[in-house]
């Protein structure tokens, strides 16, 4: 127990501070500590430096309309592993100002901006507090409980107008504009001056260096429609010659209001929506959401279901890493060849998903307490053939094809470097964090499901560059193969669902955070239940959204052609970034 001597234990946390600064959160079903707003910065600094919680994983807030307060919730971890430290700040709704933690944990940057955008909580001291998902000028903060969208029908689903006297009415017809819009009273469209994004452009760093070139700084917009941005993502890059001086990501072009819809849905109805977060890895998304709800419900998942879950999650990881590597090569300019090879393997895995779940991409396969249907022996045989024969063979081929290719190496080695300290501070997760040499993997650091019984290694890199990220991904495919081999060997028989299938589940009041190591990093669901059929608060910790915080630090000083590859190596999926 060297750990205990180095850092302070959590039990004495309240005494560590002057009285009144911190108190335990003793609402039933809640955990963690409530910190006074004035002392948040001191508290967080002590947590980081004295207690060893160096990794701020998630920042979110929930709106308690009845009490008139916002809870700003922070989840911090130690990168050496262990449970979370949860701390909260409560602020009144009318005076929603909280000190920003960006100076201590730069990874909080985008998450605080998101909270400002959607909840209207102002973070004092934030260097660049602009809206992030909606555009500047949008009316209102949509995630507040008293904000209603144009197609608002009822607070919670199921809507009463559907049964027993359901007459189909298009939502458009209920709206005075016959569209999904609403305007403040007295609004005149002709007098509206659209926001010119001055804040965005003026926020770009100016340079004093590179003066020898005597060039002007050039600002280039890449995206949202650009073949290299993996979807509708936009980067504003200021260039000095070909060197990147500064870069600002602009997102929200696929903001589909996942959380607002999720708070109206019942718990079960959210399951198919989670498929559409990171739409290439729906099984992992299902997994994390099921874990979060099961934690609240206290459900025990049958053994066979656990095995099936992990098999599916690892197959997803293999599929995703193949896809990501293929498209990384696309970004390097290897037009399509590598990704076509990768997609071929992906198709074979998708065949399996289609057979067990009914859909190639939107699996919707997990239920609270298990999975929806059993996996037949034929499917297990198919997985067996893939895992023992095809995928290792193809992976070797991929290896021969790419790993030592000189062009790939020169383009990737030493590009987009992130040191371990930076990677932790920026709250990156997944292959990015591990490529920087931090062996942090939720499957090991905070094991869930049956991962504590499985034998696998956490793959890490050394240099934290793009090439190491590639190697980490390839290494993780190998580890996943190892895991699935163990699972196929040991999978027991038995039930696949705890209890009977039910379309309404009772979820006790309280909060919970379920997280898994998704293929792209730590994917977590923060759920607050008030005992009703639908969640009070539903928040997704999207790994790629937070990983994007590291895009600007990685790109500064690189060539403009490399930024495409750097972005490709983060492996973003816009459905998850924008939600």
């Amino acid at each position: 127990m060297t750990e205990a001597t180095l850092v302070n234990p959590l039990e004495t946390l309240v005494e560590h501070f002057p009285s009144g600064w911190v108190k335990k959160d003793d609402r039933p079903g809640y955990s963690g500590f409530i910190v006074e707003r004035e002392h948040l910065l001191d508290f967080a600094r002590a947590m980081r430096d004295d207690f060893g919680f160096d990794y701020l994983s998630m920042v979110t807030a929930s709106d308690y309309l009845a009490e008139g307060i916002f809870d700003v919730v922070y989840y911090a971890y130690k990168t050496i592993g262990g449970p979370a430290l949860v701390f909260k700040v409560q602020v009144p709704r009318e005076d929603a100002v909280v000190p920003s933690l960006v100076a201590l944990y730069p990874g909080a940057d985008f998450q605080e901006r998101e909270l400002w955008d959607l909840m209207g909580i102002r973070f004092e001291g934030h260097p660049d507090l602009r809206r992030i998902l909606m555009w500047e000028g949008f009316e209102g903060h949509p995630l507040r409980k008293d904000w209603k969208e144009p197609f608002y029908e009822e607070d919670v689903k199921p809507f009463k107008s559907r049964w027993p006297e359901g007459k189909p009415i298009h939502a458009d017809d209920r709206n005075p504009f016959n569209d999904n819009v609403q305007y403040p009273t007295g609004f005149d469209p002709e007098r509206w001056v659209p926001e010119a994004e001055t804040l965005l452009y003026s926020g770009l760093q100016q340079t004093a260096h590179y003066e020898e070139f005597k060039t002007d700084e050039l600002i280039v917009n890449m995206g949202p429609q650009h073949p290299s941005t993996h979807g509708v993502f936009r980067m504003v890059v200021s260039l000095q010659g070909e060197k990147i001086v500064d870069l600002k990501p602009v997102m929200g072009y696929l903001h589909r209001n996942h959380e607002k819809i999720g708070e109206r849905n019942t718990f079960l109805q959210n399951m198919p929506f989670t498929d559409r977060l990171d739409y290439t890895t729906s099984m992992s998304n299902n997994f994390a959401y099921a874990l979060a709800v099961e934690k609240l419900m206290g459900l025990q998942v049958p053994e066979r279901a656990e095995y099936i879950r992990v098999i599916m999650a690892e197959l997803t990881r293999i599929m995703n890493h193949f896809f990501a590597t293929g498209f990384l090569l696309n970004d390097l300019g290897v037009y399509f060849t590598a990704s076509l090879y990768a997609i071929e393997e992906r198709e074979l895995i998708l065949d399996i998903f289609e057979e067990v779940s009914g859909s190639r991409m939107m699996c919707n396969y997990f239920r609270f307490g298990g999975v929806v249907r059993d996996v037949s022996d034929e499917v297990l045989k198919k997985i067996h053939n893939l895992i023992y024969d095809r995928i290792p063979r193809k992976l070797d081929q991929f290896d021969a094809y790419l790993t030592n290719n000189e062009i790939l190496r020169t383009r990737c080695e030493g590009v987009g470097v992130l040191t371990a300290d930076q990677a932790i501070a920026l709250s990156t997760a997944g292959p990015i964090l591990r490529a920087s040499g931090v062996p942090y993997d939720v499957r090991r650091a905070d094991p869930y499901s049956i991962y504590d019984r499985l034998d696998f290694d956490v793959v890490t890199g050394i240099h934290g560059d793009i090439y190491d990220r590639y190697l980490v991904r390839v290494g993780e495919i190998k580890e996943s193969i190892k895991i699935i081999k163990q699972l196929l060997r040991d999978i027991p028989g038995g039930p696949i669902l705890a209890g009977k299938p039910a379309y309404q589940v009772r979820v006790p009041a309280g909060e919970s955070y379920g997280r898994v190591e998704g293929p792209k990093g730590e994917l977590g669901f923060y759920i607050v239940s008030s005992g009703k059929p639908n969640p009070e608060r539903y928040h997704v910790r999207a790994p790629t959204f937070i990983n994007l915080t590291s895009l600007a630090p990685m790109s500064r000083g690189e060539k403009v052609a490399d930024v495409v590859v750097i972005l490709g190596a983060i492996d973003i999926v816009l459905g998850e970034v924008d939600r």
Partner: protein, 200 residues
């Protein structure tokens, strides 16, 4: 090969692509013509040991969809002796309640004599433009009345009313259901028979 790759990375890469190229011809020569246009050929091309050309020549060939495949829901009816269509649906409303995007509208019929609600849907609508093909309606219907279809060839030139399916478009015979999902259908039939037995 491994060491060769270490020193001549690009050559090794080119070797891999070249191998793929020749594979497409060699496999065709070895496997012969039955690799294409036959169900066995299609099946063989999706096995773990497939090499060479991977393409399914839709529309001439079609990749068979698995039993659980889901696109849009439909309502199952039993064919009566005189050709009448007995919908299994009892208008219990569970599917409408569980549907995540809330795209099912059910108008429950009332008995013309008593004026009480009767267990039939007078109207049943599903908005195909909103349906997310999640399969919840089929999963939680207690009467096996709504099921997920396999037909995906649905592209059309218009939307709006034509995509708001009413009873006329939703109703499909039980024989159709048995043809697309034989395993499920027989399992459910057995379960229903089991349930009916103690009463009889």
């Amino acid at each position: 090969m491994k060491n060769f790759g270490k020193r001549f990375g690009v050559m090794s890469s080119l070797g891999v692509t070249m191998g793929h190229f020749f594979d497409t011809y060699i496999v065709d020569l070895v496997k012969g013509r039955k690799r294409y246009w036959t169900p066995e050929g299609i099946e063989a091309r999706r096995q773990a040991d497939t090499e060479g050309i991977f393409t399914i020549q839709y529309p001439e060939e079609q990749l068979p969809v698995p039993e659980e495949f889901r696109v849009l829901p439909f309502l199952v009816y039993d064919e009566g002796e005189n050709g009448e269509k007995n919908l299994r649906c009892t208008a219990c409303g569970i599917c409408a309640k569980v549907c995540p995007p809330q795209c099912i509208w059910i108008y429950r019929a009332t008995d013309p004599v008593t004026g009480k609600p009767s267990p039939h849907p007078a109207e049943f609508h599903i908005d195909m433009d909103i349906c997310m093909n999640c399969g919840f309606c089929a999963e939680y219907c207690p009467f096996d009345a709504i099921k997920m279809d396999h037909d995906f060839e649905l592209a059309s030139y218009t939307r709006g009313e034509s995509h708001l399916y009413g009873l006329d478009k939703l109703m499909k015979p039980v024989s159709y259901y048995e043809s697309i999902r034989p395993v499920n259908a027989s399992r459910e039939a057995a379960a229903r028979a089991e349930k009916a037995r103690p009463k009889a």
